[in-house]
Assembly symmetry: C2
Homo-oligomer: 380 residues x 2
C-alpha cells in the first residue's frame, strides 16, 4: 500500500513550541509536510516549516488554518475546540479528537472523568471561587488547581494551612488532597485509529521544588514490577476509555503505601518522553506521528537507560540566551543537548533539554548531576 502522506498532503500542528519542533524533526524521516500555527512569529518551529502567525484560541484563525490541512494535531491543549469540531464535520481528521482535548483542558472535567471511569486519583472537591475554597479548610493540606489554562506549573499551588487559604484561586477550580507520595512517574501511551495501543516503559520524574516543572527524569523508573504494571494498565485504560487517537502522557503518583494515583494527563508528546529520542527504539514523536497517520505503532522498548534534564532559564537572567558549559557537557559520552531555538531567556523558561544515556545506572546518575550543575542558560 502506498500512503497518502508522502505526496500532496499537509499535517497541521496547533502550536509552534519545542514539542512541535521535535515532531517536525522526526517527521523529516517520513517526508511529512507540516504547517504550523502559533501566535509568536519567533516560535521554535518558525524556521523549520510553513509557518502561520495567529491565535490558537481564535475560532476563525483555527478554521482558516485547518481548512488548508489534511490532518490537524496539537502540541498544546489551549486551542479552540469549537473550530476543531467544525473541521471534523467538514471531513478533516483531528487527532487527538476535539472532545478529548476539551475534557483535558479543564482539570475539573478531567477529575470527574477519573472518578466516573474508576481511574484511581486523589480525592477532590470542586470549587467555584476563593470563598468556596476557604469553606473547605477541613480538606487541607491540599493542592488548589485552576480548572483551565494552568500550564507548566502555573495555576497550581499547595495550601497547607488555614492561613494559606488567603491565596486561594478565585476562579473555578478544585481542591485535591495533598498526596504524600514516594515518587512521581509517567507512562506515555499511544493509540491509532485501528485501536492498536502501545505504552512506553514507566519513567520516574523529579520536579523542581518551587517551579512545579520536571527538573530531571530517569528511565527506567526504579519500581517494583507490580507497581510498574499497575501504572501501565492505568494508562491503557484511560486511552481506551477516551477512544483517543494520538499520544497521551499519564502522570501518576506512587504513594508511600504503594498505591498508584493519576495526577494529570496530556494528549500530546510530553516532557516525560523526551529521552525516548535517544533511549528507545521508537521516539514519542515518531509514535505520535504513527498514531495520527494510522500507521502501525512502533516498538517502544528501551535500547539503553536514559535520563533527561530540563534546561531552564537561570534565575536572574533575562535577555538573549547564551549556553554556559555547553562544551563541557558535550565532552561527556552519551550527552545529547537539544536546544529549542528560543532567542530570549527568562527565569525558568524551558530553553532546551539534555538527554543522557548510559548502560551503567550509577554513571547515568552521576552524569545527570554533572549536566544539571554545569549547563546554564544565561543572558548575554
Amino acid at each position: 500500500m502506498s500512503l497518502s502522506f508522502q505526496q500532496n498532503f499537509k499535517l497541521g500542528i496547533l502550536g509552534g513550541g519545542q514539542l512541535g519542533r521535535m515532531l517536525i524533526q522526526s517527521g523529516i524521516d517520513f517526508n511529512i509536510p507540516f504547517a504550523i500555527l502559533d501566535p509568536d512569529r519567533q516560535a521554535p518551529c518558525s524556521a523549520l516549516a510553513e509557518f502561520h502567525t495567529g491565535k490558537l484560541t481564535d475560532f476563525d484563525t483555527v478554521m482558516k488554518f485547518g481548512a488548508a490541512c489534511d490532518i490537524i494535531t496539537i502540541e498544546i491543549e489551549n486551542v479552540n475546540t469549537a473550530a476543531l469540531k467544525e473541521l471534523v464535520k467538514q471531513g478533516k481528521k483531528v487527532f487527538p479528537q476535539p472532545d478529548v482535548i476539551e475534557l483535558i483542558q479543564d482539570k475539573r472535567t478531567q477529575k470527574i472523568f477519573y472518578r466516573d471511569s474508576g481511574i484511581p486519583t486523589a480525592e477532590f472537591v470542586l470549587t467555584e471561587n476563593a470563598a468556596d475554597v476557604r469553606r473547605h479548610a477541613s480538606f487541607l493540606p491540599a493542592v488548589n488547581k485552576l480548572g483551565r489554562e494552568g500550564y507548566d506549573g502555573r495555576g497550581v499551588q499547595i495550601l497547607r494551612s488555614e492561613k494559606e487559604l488567603a491565596n486561594a484561586f478565585d476562579a473555578p477550580g478544585l481542591l485535591e488532597k495533598l498526596i504524600d507520595f514516594e515518587k512521581e512517574i509517567s507512562v506515555i501511551v499511544a493509540r491509532n485509529e485501528q485501536g492498536e495501543v502501545k505504552t512506553f516503559p514507566v519513567v520516574e520524574m523529579v520536579f523542581h521544588p518551587v517551579q512545579n516543572l520536571v527538573e530531571y527524569l530517569f528511565a527506567p523508573a526504579e519500581l517494583p514490577t507490580a507497581i510498574a504494571k499497575e501504572a501501565d494498565t492505568i494508562a491503557r485504560t484511560i486511552i481506551d476509555s477516551l477512544k483517543m487517537v494520538g499520544l497521551l502522557a499519564v502522570e501518576m503518583f506512587v504513594t508511600k503505601d504503594g498505591k498508584v494515583l493519576v495526577n494529570e494527563i496530556a494528549p500530546r508528546p510530553h516532557n516525560s518522553g523526551h529521552q525516548t529520542i535517544e533511549a528507545n527504539i521508537t521516539s514519542q514523536y515518531e509514535q505520535h506521528l504513527r498514531a495520527i497517520l494510522n500507521l502501525p505503532l512502533g516498538d517502544t522498548s528501551m535500547v539503553i537507560p536514559g535520563a533527561m534534564v530540563n534546561l531552564l532559564g537561570e534565575p536572574g537572567h533575562e535577555g538573549v540566551a547564551q549556553y554556559q558549559g555547553f562544551e563541557e557537557v558535550a565532552r561527556v559520552s552519551g550527552v545529547h543537548v537539544h536546544l529549542y531555538g528560543k532567542r530570549f531567556t527568562k527565569p525558568f523558561r524551558k530553553m532546551g533539554h539534555v538527554t543522557i544515556v548510559d548502560y551503567d545506572l550509577a554513571r547515568l546518575r552521576e552524569k545527570t548531576m554533572f549536566v544539571k550543575e554545569t549547563l546554564k542558560v544565561i543572558a548575554s
Copy 2:
C-alpha cells in the same frame, strides 16, 4: 564558555541533497541556522532551511553564498574550490579545507596521495585518454575510473578482457588492478581543529552488482580484530596526513589474503554512516557538526547492531514517487525509514534509506532482507 554558533551565526552547506538534509535534522538540536546552496530548487533541503538556488561549480555563485555565512561546509565534492580558497583568504572558515576537497575531487591525485603517504591501495596506472587505456592491456583485469566527476557509481567500470577495452573512458583517468576482495568495508573518521580524532566502528558494505551503489550494510563488520584495527589505523593516518577538519569516509577492500586496501575517500557524511543515527551514541551528522564547529568529538560507540538498506528507485519506474510496502516494514520492530523528500523517482535514484537495529545478528539480517524485498519506490 558560551559558543558563537547559538546566536547570529550561519552555517552554509554547498549541496542540498539527502546528506545536507540529515545535517540540518541533526543541527536542529544545537540550534544551528543553516543556509543551503543547490542548483535544484526542489532539492531535499529546500523546505528545511534558508535555501539558495545556484550552481556549486560557479565561482561567483559560491563566493556570494559563502560571503553571507560564518562557516562553510559541503555535502558533495563537486564544488568550486577556487571560490572556497578565496573565502578562506577573506577570513571564512571552510571545512573540509578547499585543498583537501580538491585532492579528493580527482581520483588521480587521490591515488598519488595514497602512494606518496604509504597508504595501502590497489596498484594503478594513470591514463590520459581511451587510446592510453588500450595500451595497458597487460594490466587487465582492471577498474577504469574517470579522474573527475564520477559520483554514485558513474565514471567507474570494470575492464576484464582486451575486448572490453573498447569501452575505455576517453578522458584523464586511471586503471586500477581489479581486487579479488573478500569484503568491502568503511571507516568514518572525524577530526576537529584541535586535532582530536575519533573513528566510528568498521562497517561492512554490500554493493549493488550492477549499479556500483551501496545496496545494504551491516555494523559491526564481521572481521578479525586485527583487520578491523588495521582499517581503523588507516583511516586515522589519512585524516592526520591531510590535517583535514570534518568527517572523512574511508572505503576499503579486505582482500582474500587479509590485506586492507583503500578504495576511495569522501570528505563528508557518507552513505556508509547512515545507520549511526539510530545505532551509535553520536551520529555521523552530529559528529561532522561537532568537528567543524570545533566542539569536542562525540562518543562513536555502537549502542545496538545496525543495518542499512538504500532505498533506490525501482527499475522501470519514473515519475512521482510512491512507497510500496511502507506500512509492512513500519510494522517490524527496529525499522527506521528515512525518506529524502524527492518528489520524482527514476531507476536507481537514491530516494531514501532504512536503518534496522536488533541485538540479535541473525534477526537483524532477516529483517534487512525483508526490508530489501518489501519496500519499493515506484511511480504512481
